[in-house]
Amino acid sequence: MSIQTASLQTSDKPLGRDDLARLVARDIKPGSFVNLGIGQPTLVSNYLEPEQNITLHTENGMLGMGPVAEGDQIDGDLINAGKIPVTELPGASYFHHADSFAIMRGGHLDICVLGAFQVSATGDLANWHTGAPDAIPAVGGAMDLATGAKDVFVMMTLLTRDGASKIVDACTYPLTGVGCVTRVYTDKAVFLTGPDGVQVRETFGCTLEELQALVPVPLTAAPAVER
């Protein structure tokens, strides 16, 4: 066990947001069609290499989205799902909302990367609503993304500000999707979720035993082929 866990640790300290974004970017297969959610997942675009030939989708109706617009590039008719002005790359295309969500729901997107409040051991996702009685609910495309993409990656800190694990046995926040998350990238480890439970691909600044002490679901080391 100690040999195995030692081999899982790939960094001697927890990963920062940018290092984590760089890792997610590296894990996206060349030629993929990808949707990056609002917030932390947007950082991933900073680390995609041109030779990866990744096409970014934005659910408000575009494939081939380029970087955030600056200065003279800003055009109110060209925004991303976070309503931030963006640019178009050569080969971009525009389409209406029903087509955009058909792209998603129809299984044509390879990966979406989302933030989360909680992920369950079986890959249930909670990321749209705290469930607080006075909160105004707003779902946007979160449920469509969670359900539609072939792979759903989550990026989040492992622990809440209060130190509670966001990987949980069962989500206590309202669900976004059932059994949809395939990988969870956190500051302390990368987790693979699915019907076989939670596997750990690599850890950052902790051993598997130390990680297990933080997470209330059984963790196993992922097979070497997944690393």
């Binding site: 659910e59 209406h96 006075d134 976004t176 999707g177």
Partner: protein, 219 residues
């Protein structure tokens, strides 16, 4: 029948109290501000509005909500950093909200325009937004039955129209325009430019004129 109208006020004059009005736009992109302002001036009230959001800042749909003209919002993402008018009405219990996942919203609008009586979708299955709805397992996946959203009127924004009412849009401002144009009984379009019939390449027409009733050019 297609009519070209000189002013936004005349274009929206027929909208009655209690109407269901689809308003195009995703955030401010594609939002037909001039038509909404005219609707505000026209005084129609007790409206059900279908839009992705529930207004931003102090303009357009946000003002319609502020002035108490909207009885119910059907939308996917009402809460934003600048949605204060909706937030206040909602917290005061003065506006009804039907929250719909964005892709279900789009497909329900599309279904209305396409004459579809409903559809099963995996989006929302197992969540609180599917509570009370019929579900089935189809192809091994849980799916939720969703029904079309019809409207009396659609207010949308396009870049250009030709003499037949064919439309082209601009970039991500296209968003809900094409599906709302098809879903409403009466579709009113504000455009930046009207070109002669034949002035749009038929291969590039996005919304065919059959879906369009009124066109008004705004500066």
């Amino acid at each position: 029948m297609l009519t070209f109208i000189d002013t936004v006020g005349e274009a929206v004059a027929g909208i009655k109290d209690g109407s269901t009005v689809m308003i195009g736009g995703f955030g401010n992109a594609g939002q037909p501000f001039e038509l909404i302002d005219a609707l505000l001036d026209g005084g129609a009230t007790d409206l059900t509005v279908v839009n992705n959001n529930a207004g931003q800042g102090d303009q357009g749909l946000a003002l319609l909500i502020k002035e108490g003209r909207v009885r119910k919002m059907i939308c996917s993402f009402p809460r934003q950093s600048d949605s204060w008018h909706f937030d206040a009405k909602y917290k005061a219990g003065e506006i009804e909200l039907e929250l719909v996942p964005q892709g279900n919203l789009a497909e329900r609008i599309r279904a209305a325009g396409a004459g579809i009586g409903g559809f099963f979708t995996p989006t929302g299955y197992g969540t609180m937004l599917a509570e009370g709805k019929e579900t089935r397992i189809i192809d091994g996946r849980g799916q939720v039955f969703e029904t079309p959203i019809h409207a009396d009127v659609a207010l949308i924004k396009a870049l250009k129209a030709d003499g037949k009412g064919n439309l082209v849009y601009r970039k991500t401002a296209r968003n809900f325009g094409p599906i709302m144009a098809a879903a409403a009984k009466h579709t009113i379009v504000q455009v930046s430019e009207i070109v002669p019939t034949g002035g749009l390449d038929p291969e590039n027409v996005v919304t065919p004129g059959i879906y369009v009733n009124s066109i008004v050019k705004v500066a």
